[in-house]
């Protein structure tokens, strides 16, 4: 069962997974492009760190994009068929959901491994000044976890009906509107900051996306 679901899902998400895997491999290499092994172009440690940090912004963006697009592709055939085929299959619904979720995770393992391969390749061939170190495995694990979190969130949202998605969007919109109205009315009410903190700061569920993503660090 898992194999046929994995194959069907691959057909829906192969473009996203392929492009995402290529991007995930290239990103670490590009992030250390200035740290050439040639002695003619030595870069100082500070400049390397600045460049690695600048490129590091793209890791969470790539992880979120991959999670979103693969989650959408995961449910796309069922949404198109209004879930009739899936519901008429002879297996419990929770098991079907797990199979779909697992197949998406297997596909997303490719870009996570590509980050690892690209990061190992980049740190091996870059001239890293003394005092700095490469962290290819840590970066790849963090990228993998970020992809997992993004995929899980968007998988759960897109598993629901259009109505569910509407309720979620309305809730988010409602918070923003309350904040704006409070600002206009000169009422001291800050809803967004605590919400942002709860989501984005540790132990918030999206904390993995924030902070510095450094392939090379002290």
């Amino acid at each position: 069962m898992f194999r046929v679901i994995l194959y069907a899902q691959w057909k829906w998400s192969r473009l996203v997974v392929t492009l995402g895997t290529i991007a995930a491999f290239i990103l670490p290499i590009l992030s250390v492009q200035g740290a050439s092994p040639l002695p003619a172009s030595p870069m100082r440690a500070g400049e390397i760190l600045t460049m690695v940090q600048a490129w590091g912004v793209l890791y969470p963006v790539l992880a979120a994009a991959l999670g979103l697009l693969v989650a959408i592709a995961t449910w796309a055939p069922d949404h198109r068929g209004r879930h009739v085929h899936a519901l008429s299959l002879p297996l419990p619904r929770w098991r079907y959901v797990l199979l779909r979720f697992g197949a998406g995770l297997v596909l997303l393992a490719a870009p996570a491994l590509a980050v690892l391969a690209g990061a190992v390749f980049a740190t091996r061939f870059a001239a890293i000044p003394s005092g700095l170190q490469g962290y290819p495995v840590a970066l790849a694990i963090r990228f993998g976890v970020a992809v997992l979190v993004a995929y899980a969130v968007f998988f759960a949202v897109s598993a629901g009906t259009t109505r569910t998605a509407g309720v979620i969007l309305a809730a988010i919109g409602g918070v923003v509107v309350v904040q704006v109205l409070a600002g206009l009315a000169n009422i001291h009410l800050d809803v967004l900051t605590p919400l942002q903190g709860a989501l984005l700061l540790w132990p918030g569920p999206l904390a993995i996306f924030t902070g510095r993503w450094m392939l090379i660090d002290v």
Binding site: V4, Y7, A8, K11, P77
Partner: protein
């Protein structure tokens, strides 16, 4: 008599517009049960409730002697379902669709699936989404049959298909049923098609089951009678009078249910005269039945 499908006191409501208020329905095991009704009468909803795709508000549904939707996975492993619209993944080829479906059914018959693929003249390399409506219908029927089900639930499987495709599909269906004694629950508004193949008939309208009986009794029992010197309305009759319409001053046309030839004596003893007994085919019987079912309801509304 055992029943492949037994529904008791089913209540389902979809929003404010549609309701199945209290449905009792029984599909005898081994029968080919035609489920007739106009568009929007509740046939597809009933089928989806039977298969556990929708949850009822109240009532009891048993399919192959198991409660639904509680035992849905076990029941669905023994049910071949052809939905009204083909809901398969359009990006898979016919071959991939077969492989996908086969992975879920322990009774899947690979050899027979291959035979049906050839018999239905399907191109295994074509994407399901690129197939014509008739070809999609054939694929759906192939999938339902190749899992060797005990019960086939077919929701307007031949709707919109050309006669050749319809004949191929129904021939394969009848071959399977005659070999395996499976039960078939088939909904359609192609009345003539059901008339040829079904041995039981259920008629649904406005979320209610109008009637349910063996096909022969249905066809034999509904007649149009031309009566002269008709007795007054309200006199007891040995059959059900569905409607009475005057034909000029001297005679009336009666639509009756439960008619038997020996009932002719009713008119003779009452001083009336039965001039003609007109046989109705299933379609005429169906239309008249719905007409008479709806008339008192309209009056109730007024």
């Amino acid at each position: 008599m055992t029943h492949a499908i037994a529904i008791r006191g089913l209540h389902y409501r979809a929003g404010r517009s549609f309701e199945i208020p209290n449905l009792d329905l029984s599909v005898p095991t081994g029968s080919i049960y035609g489920f007739l009704g106009p568009n929007g009468s509740g046939k597809t909803t009933t089928i989806r409730l039977v298969l556990g795709l929708l949850r009822p508000r109240a009532g009891d549904i048993r399919v192959l002697d198991r409660p639904m939707p509680h035992d849905a996975p076990r029941v669905l492993a023994r049910v071949g379902y052809v939905p009204e619209q083909p809901h398969l993944d359009p990006t898979l080829t016919v071959r991939e669709v077969l492989r996908f479906q086969g992975a879920f059914y322990p009774t899947w018959d690979h050899a027979w699936a291959e035979e049906l693929l050839v018999a239905f003249d399907l191109d295994e390399h074509r994407l399901f989404g690129k197939l014509s409506k008739g070809q999609k219908g054939k694929v759906m029927m192939l999938l339902a049959l190749a899992q060797r089900p005990d019960l086939l639930v077919l929701d307007e499987p031949t709707d919109g298909l050309d006669p050749v495709v319809r004949r191929d599909m129904l021939a394969a269906l009848l071959d399977y049923v005659s070999e395996h004694g499976a039960t078939v629950f088939i909904s359609s508004h192609l009345v003539h098609e059901l008339e040829r193949m079904c041995d039981w008939i259920g008629v649904m309208d406005q979320g209610r089951l109008v009637t349910e009986l063996p096909m022969e009794r249905f066809k034999r029992g509904i007649k149009r009678l031309v009566v002269s010197g008709a007795p007054p309305i309200g006199d007891p009759t040995p059959f059900s009078v569905l409607s009475r319409e005057p034909n000029g001053a001297s005679s009336e046309t009666w639509l009756v249910r439960g008619w038997e030839p020996e009932m002719q004596a009713f008119f003779e003893t009452g001083g009336a005269s039965l001039q003609r007994v007109i046989d109705l085919d299933l379609e005429e019987g169906f239309v008249e039945l719905l007409r008479t079912f709806r008339t008192p309801r309209r009056e109730e509304v007024r």
